[in-house]
């Protein structure tokens, strides 16, 4: 399963609705000047995957709503991630075929009162339903080791011995 695109609406430095992508199987790079919004793209994934505000570099989820001199009055933000399954062919990236009908749409919205809700394929759900759905596709949200935030890579190797143990036990 791969991320096909990310649709953000009034999320952090994004005003209005933007489609980030499309992504394919294989490698994509995200490039741009300092402060342009690259880490905010990763933050949008953290947001949709239910991370708490402090892991998304902010104190409350309401601060994730776009707020700039030009547009100071946004009331909510939404991030939608569209996944799709691909035919695993062990070949070069170009040949990866998207399997029609396997699309999964995960979305989260946050509001000025710090509340947020989730939808899965358009239906309102609890976060745990999303966690289960992603787990079935091999995305282990309890472990989060497939996401490396800016400035974090050095401390992965420096985990205390007990933490490394929990990590490995968690994998099994």
């Amino acid at each position: 399963m791969i991320i096909k695109n990310i649709v953000v609406h009034n999320f952090k430095s994004f005003h209005g609705t933007h489609v980030i992508g499309p992504f394919f199987k294989g490698m994509s790079s995200v490039i741009g000047p300092n402060g342009s919004g690259k880490s905010n793209v990763l933050d949008s994934i953290l947001f949709v995957f239910g991370y708490r505000a402090s892991k998304i570099r902010t104190k409350k989820v309401s601060m994730l709503i776009h707020n700039s001199a030009k547009f100071p009055n946004c009331n909510s933000c939404t991030v939608t991630v569209n996944f799709v399954q691909i035919l695993d062919n062990n070949g070069p990236q170009e040949d990866a075929q998207e399997i029609p009908g396997t699309e999964v749409e995960v979305s989260r919205s946050a509001f000025k009162d710090n509340s947020s809700h989730y939808t899965l394929d358009g239906k309102r759900v609890q976060f745990k339903d999303i966690a289960v759905k992603l787990q079935n596709h091999g995305v282990d949200l309890t472990n989060g080791r497939f996401l490396i935030l800016q400035g974090e890579v050095e401390q992965i190797a420096q985990m205390k011995p007990k933490a490394e143990n929990e990590n490995d036990t968690g994998l099994l």
Binding site: I3, S28, K38, N90, Q150, E154, A157, P161
Partner: protein, 165 residues
């Protein structure tokens, strides 16, 4: 449960070694159980031997050496329990240009069946991504992105008429 853990541990340790030897070109790494009979009690220690040097605990290494050790662990774990996609933000900040290139090429080989989204400021990294680049820019306080296929660029570049003799 102990059996399962030890089996998994052996695989992860083996894969970590393979990956670290490959990216450090002559170095070695090791996960060691602090208490072989009771691994759940004391935990796991991570030792590294950079090329040409002695075995050291992680906290004595330089910034770049720690980064390589972390990445070897992440890539090693992937073999044991693959994740369908990875998203990494500036993992190359502490790497010298040669190591940026080594990690970039490793990711290139490694992502045969897996999706990698890499945020980077280093040309030695993003120049290797030939299929998809997401350009992020903020012309007036609001972020905009554009999806680029670098191969389309080079094709259209080749199509240009050759300059007059």
């Amino acid at each position: 449960r102990y059996q399962e853990f030890m089996a998994g541990f052996m695989i992860i340790n083996q894969k970590l070694k393979e990956v670290f030897r490959m990216i450090s070109i002559g170095g070695d790494a090791e996960l060691e159980l602090q208490d072989t009979f009771n691994p759940f009690l004391e935990g796991i220690a991570f030792s590294v031997r950079p090329r040409n040097k002695a075995w050291t605990q992680i906290d004595r290494l330089s910034g770049g050496e720690k980064t390589l050790s972390s990445l070897a662990l992440v890539f090693g774990l992937h073999y044991f329990k693959p994740s369908p996609f990875y998203m990494m933000d500036e993992i190359d900040a502490a790497l010298d240009t040669r190591n940026v290139s080594i990690i970039g090429h490793y990711i290139k080989k490694f992502t045969v069946n897996c999706q990698f989204i890499v945020i980077s400021l280093r040309a030695e990294m993003y120049d290797l991504f030939e299929r998809r680049i997401i350009g992020v820019f903020k012309p007036d306080g609001c972020t905009r992105t554009v999806a680029i296929d670098p191969r389309e660029f080079s094709k259209s570049h080749l199509k240009q008429p050759s300059p007059p003799p």
